[in-house]
């Protein structure tokens, strides 16, 4: 868990960092003209989901195995709010994210009392509980899910049913959320989180109220996972059981580990890799999971720090924080 690139406090030269971010942004802005936009949006949603998860695993050292409950439930809430209550997309998305954060506060409050495998099991158990609520609650429509969710008009002005508008909306949400995460990680609060990750008893002895820090991190992570789920329900105009299922919790772990845990862009790379595999091998049906598994095994054996993790030392030398 403790690798030098995460703990390094050296500030990179802003110019090179700025160029690096700039190139990425230009690529992201131009991407929908070269690739199928819905695919890109799906990737962005999962990338945000993985980035939120990464805050817990990479910077607090907590492996949550129930993040799908935030992702899936916020999708249901946004879908319901947009379809049944006719709320505008930005309010529906915010509502979804807030509900996920509130759910995160309850789940986190229960779960952070334990560490390691026990923490993972508690989150998994609560996520399964929420899954069955989603299966039986009338407003989620069980196996059918909430379908035909209207994308609506952003701020009552911009028509999101246009794919390009929707893409830039998703991209905007993603960039803002990633920037927020970046600020959280590099703030004094983030430093305390890392201290807790590296040595919890020492953080306690220094006088930090560890549980409070963990809970706040958990709530932020849940809220951002919820934000990803909310946006996804608007992209696909659908909220379904697949997003609350534990497979989604497992997938986000896979994405984060493949991309590089504890890096800013790792989860994004991992998310796109997994989504691409799913897309590319879609005709292979249930073989997709086997292919994913094999790639995961290869990654773990070949480059443990993840795809981005491998390049981090190289980039760091050139003053770029990835």
């Amino acid at each position: 868990m403790t690798s030098h690139q995460m703990t390094s406090a050296a500030r990179p030269a802003p110019s090179r960092q700025a160029i690096f971010i700039g190139i990425l942004l230009v690529l992201a802005l131009a991407a929908p003209f070269a690739t199928y936009p819905v695919f890109l949006m799906k990737g962005l949603c999962f990338a945000l989901f993985a980035a939120a998860f990464n805050l817990l695993l990479g910077y607090v050292g907590l492996l949550s195995f129930g993040h799908a409950m935030f992702f899936g439930w916020s999708a249901y809430i946004t879908a319901h709010a947009a379809k049944e209550w006719g709320l505008t997309p930005e309010i529906a998305v915010l509502l979804g994210a807030l509900c996920a954060a509130a759910l995160g506060a309850v789940v986190g409050w229960l779960a952070i009392r334990r560490q390691g495998i026990y923490f993972a099991m508690i989150t998994l158990a609560l996520a399964q509980l929420m899954y069955f609520v989603a299966l039986q609650a009338p407003f989620t429509h069980g196996e059918d899910g909430i379908q035909g969710v209207p994308r609506g008009r952003l701020f009552g002005l911009i028509d999101l049913s246009d794919t390009l508008n929707m893409y830039y909306f998703v991209l905007g949400v993603f960039v803002l959320a990633l920037f927020f995460l970046h600020r959280v990680i590099n703030s004094p609060f983030g430093q305390v989180l890392k201290a807790i990750r590296d040595n919890e008893p020492r953080a306690i002895s220094l006088g930090y109220q560890v549980e409070r820090y963990k809970l706040i991190a958990f709530v932020i992570s849940a809220g951002l996972a919820g934000l990803a789920g909310s946006v996804k329900s608007l992209v696909f105009q659908l909220a379904s059981l697949a997003d609350v299922h534990w497979h989604a919790s497992g997938e986000v772990v896979l994405m984060t580990l493949l991309g590089g845990v504890g890096t800013i862009f790792g989860p994004t790379a991992g998310a796109y890799l997994v989504v691409t595999i799913q897309n590319f091998f879609a005709s292979a049906g249930s073989w997709v999971t086997i292919i994913q598994g094999s790639i995961f095994v290869v990654c773990v054996l070949a480059f443990r720090a993840g795809i981005v993790g491998v390049f981090v030392p190289f980039l760091k030398k050139r003053g770029i924080d990835a």
Binding site: Y36, V38, F39, K42, L135, H141, G142, E143, D144, G145, Q147, G148, T163, F236, Q237, L238, S240, A242, D243, A282, S283, G285, S286
Partner: protein
Amino acid sequence: MLKKALIGAAAATALMAGQAQAQFSDNKIKIGVLTDLSGTYSDLAGKGAVVAAQMAVEDFGGKVNGVPVEIVSADHQNKADIASSIARKWYDAEQVDAIAELVTTAAAVAVREVSKEKGKIDLVSGAASTPLTNDKCSPTGFHWTYDTYALANGTANAVVKNGGKTWYFLTADYAFGHNLQAQTERVVKANGGEVKGAVRHPFPNSDFSSFLLQAQSSGAQIIGLANAGADTINAIKQAKEFGITQGGQSLAGLLVFITDVHSLGLETAQGMQLTTGYYWNRDDETRAWSKRWSARMDGKMPSMVHAGTYSAVIHYLKGLAAAKTDEGVKVADQMRALPIKDASGFAVNGKIRADGRMVHDMYLAQVKKPAEAKGPWDYYNVLRTIPGDEAYQPLSESTCSLVKK
């Protein structure tokens, strides 16, 4: 290469169809068969439906007014989200003009939403639920093969009239199961029967023991199986092991496909009554088509979903030829106007209504005793032909917004 082919196709089209070719976008007709290729329903739909769609294209000559027709297929794994994203990708990025088959209500409804939004045609064959032609109806959506209303009118009617007055339901816990149960309850109650209760099982499910015990202790004469495919097969097999059928209660499979009977074997399935939209061994026409299909499917025989997919796809191609465009609404109008007749012998007295329902004759069949079967797949005695207007929900009861009242 591609350029040459395109020029060739364009030239050929220009020769054959005059000005018409300009109306077919991207000079290609693409039909997507979206089905369950690996799961619970892969036998009754699955690869067989892809083969049926290919046969329809070949029988039509592979071209519509000189424009080549192509079939693509994908596995939706019975999940709404996968079905929806594949449909979106097909329509947006892969120039698919229509989607056919669509087993599983959740997947069909998901695709229906996307198709409606994009103005593309969907040809539902495998899914059963009535909302597809009620509140989820679409000007470019068709429900071809059967539905829960017709199933209940056939099977439940027959069972209640034979004395099965008290019912208990074993229901797959998703929209299709709920819908089938509700439709059956309607028929049971209308005939003076009584519903003692229901238990819902997860979908898909393999262990029915606790549900069957509840059904047994209800004391109902009839245990109605409001599920389908492998779920029905497992429930019937396990009911036999529990001695439920020997104990005097009977099972009513509310949706049974010929592939299910094949899996169960005549020994287990004999005597069961069922409603179907197609039986391969009904007349010379159905036999001839089914044998062609069978030759490509390792000797299996087609279910009504397979024949329905063929019939729907070939009718869609006729609609394209008549409309001289691939614009969804115009093709749908032509499809409603054209008579339905094809080589499979599927749509007897078929007609398409304003709500998208393809109304055709249904058959009440009884599974043969092992001694009666004259050969492989010779499974049904057709007891009665149910005229389409009697089998299906009357248009006056439809809640579809397209029906003028």
